[in-house]
């Protein structure tokens, strides 16, 4: 059983290596998100804020659903890739970095849009923690991207990027799910 697992892991590693070789090096993590969020908050019409407060959990729910849907798609993408790789019929149309980053970027946009509408309800402390840690994650992702440029065939780095993005989703999810009387 363990041998089978190892074979599967080797195959997955091999497939990631191949995809990593096709990296689109132009994709970079977004820089300094918070100024844009703050600008968006300032530009938000007052009426919208009031409406957002009334239905403040709806965007969160939508973002969470979006994330789940995107997460499923991402996972399906990897699964079908591995299966096709086994049969030797895979044609790589997208780079690994695209596969990893795109779903997270879409999900992140969804979350951040929701959090912008919710920002005025958020305690300054939570807002500061969110801001600081999003920056830490962005810096980390940038560091991994840079490392991948030097060594595109490294599955540890693609794993690290996946885990870093997952941490970002966990962070956004955690802040979003604190509930109306907590953030």
């Amino acid at each position: 059983m363990k041998q089978d697992d190892e074979k599967l892991a080797d195959l997955a590693e091999h497939s990631i290596r191949r995809q990593a070789g096709l990296l689109d090096k132009e994709i970079q993590p977004e820089t300094e998100l918070w100024p844009r969020i703050e600008a968006a908050i300032k530009n938000l019409p007052q009426q919208e804020v009031i409406n957002a407060n009334t239905n403040r959990w709806m965007p969160m729910a939508m973002a969470a659903s979006l994330l789940l849907a995107i997460g499923s798609l991402g996972f399906a993408g990897y699964t079908s890739y591995s299966v096709n790789q086994n049969t030797g019929t895979f044609v790589a149309e997208e780079s690994t970095l695209n596969l990893i980053e795109q779903p997270y970027m879409v999900a992140r946009t969804g979350y951040l849009t929701s959090l912008v509408t919710d920002e005025q309800q958020m305690s300054p402390e939570v807002r500061e923690v969110l801001k600081k840690n999003l920056k830490i994650i962005d810096d980390a992702a940038r560091e991994i991207h840079k490392a991948l440029e030097e060594n595109p065939n490294d599955p540890f780095l693609t794993d690290a990027l996946l885990l870093t993005r997952q941490k970002e989703m966990d962070l956004l999810n955690q802040v979003a799910s604190q509930g109306p009387d907590t953030i």
């Binding site: 840690n133 540890f156 794993d159």
Partner: protein
């Protein structure tokens, strides 16, 4: 006439102080019988709460409620004993939070949610499930399960056991645990765990340090990773595991666990693969730019 005026002024002065008196947190002392294997569910937005296990089959609350508390809900709902310090739906940035001591029966599980409540928990053998935002969680002698999530609060456990799932964003995690399965995750906080013996350990951060000490069981698995923090793993006793350790550009590996040599890989990376003992378990560690230090008794 002067006396009447004086009395009027006295009444006015008293009225002026009355709202202040009403704002002060109300002192409560209440108890309810509870089931032996029930759940005690506590919701308190802010303050300091101590939850202590005891051998009586009742839940008792003593202390001062939040200055802004509207109501204390304390009732039984089947096997759940509910305690909710109800707050107004408005800004709660003034006044003091609750200061309560709550005793719960042995065997009961504690479910807690709060925002900036610091929590001290002792002698709970039915497990805990805690969610806070900025409050610290300090536990001692907690058993069965330890599930804790905070955003910026620190988590610390001593002399505790059971399945543990600990998560923070910027808070630190520190523990002295006897736990078979442990998951500890943070973004920028540090994780420091002293474990007796474990089957399964998963710990990760983005920029925080990981420092783990304990005995990996045969067939056990340990997975540690971060991006830029340092990772230290100190394994007690003889280890039986295959280890796959990797550091990215700028990272480093120091092997004090065996005589196996760390290999340099271009560009500027390091790798260590080794089989310790019969190789039945698995150790997987990686960092992108941090350092990895292994130590133990395998040589």
């Amino acid at each position: 006439m002067k006396l009447v005026n004086f009395q009027k002024n006295l009444v006015l002065v008293a009225l002026c102080y009355l709202p202040g008196t009403l704002l002060a947190g109300e002192f409560v002392e209440k108890s309810l019988s509870a089931q032996p294997n029930g759940i005690v569910e506590i919701h308190n937005v802010r303050g300091d709460i101590k939850v202590l296990g005891w051998d009586k089959q009742e839940v008792e609350i003593r202390g001062e409620l939040d200055d802004l508390a509207e109501e204390l809900i304390f009732e039984k709902q089947g096997k759940v004993t509910l305690i909710r310090v109800k707050m107004p739906n408005k800004n709660v940035n003034h006044g003091d939070g609750s200061k309560l001591v709550i005793n719960i029966p042995n065997g009961n599980r504690l479910d807690f949610s709060g925002v900036s409540t610091d929590l001290i928990i002792k002698n709970i053998d039915g497990g805990i499930d805690i969610r806070t935002v900025s409050g610290d969680v300090d536990g001692k002698n907690i058993h069965k399960q330890l599930f804790v999530t905070t955003v910026s609060g620190d988590i610390e456990f001593k002399d505790s056991s059971g399945r543990a799932k600990l998560g923070t964003v910027s808070g630190d995690i520190e523990g002295n645990l006897n736990s078979q399965g442990i998951s500890a995750n943070s973004v920028s906080g540090d994780v420091e765990l002293e474990l007796t013996e474990f089957d399964e350990l998963s710990a990760s951060t983005v920029s925080g340090d990981l420092k783990i000490e304990g005995k990996l069981k045969d067939d056990g698995e340990a997975s540690l990773n971060n991006v830029s923090g340092d990772i230290t793993l100190k394994l007690a006793s003889k280890v039986n595991a295959r280890a796959n350790i990797k550091s990215g550009p700028g990272g480093s590996i120091t092997n004090g666990l065996s005589s196996d040599k760390v290999k340099e890989i271009f560009p500027n990376q390091q790798k260590l693969q080794m089989t310790l003992g019969d190789g039945s378990g698995r150790i997987k560690i990686y960092t992108v730019s941090g350092s990895i230090r292994l130590s133990g008794k395998n040589h």
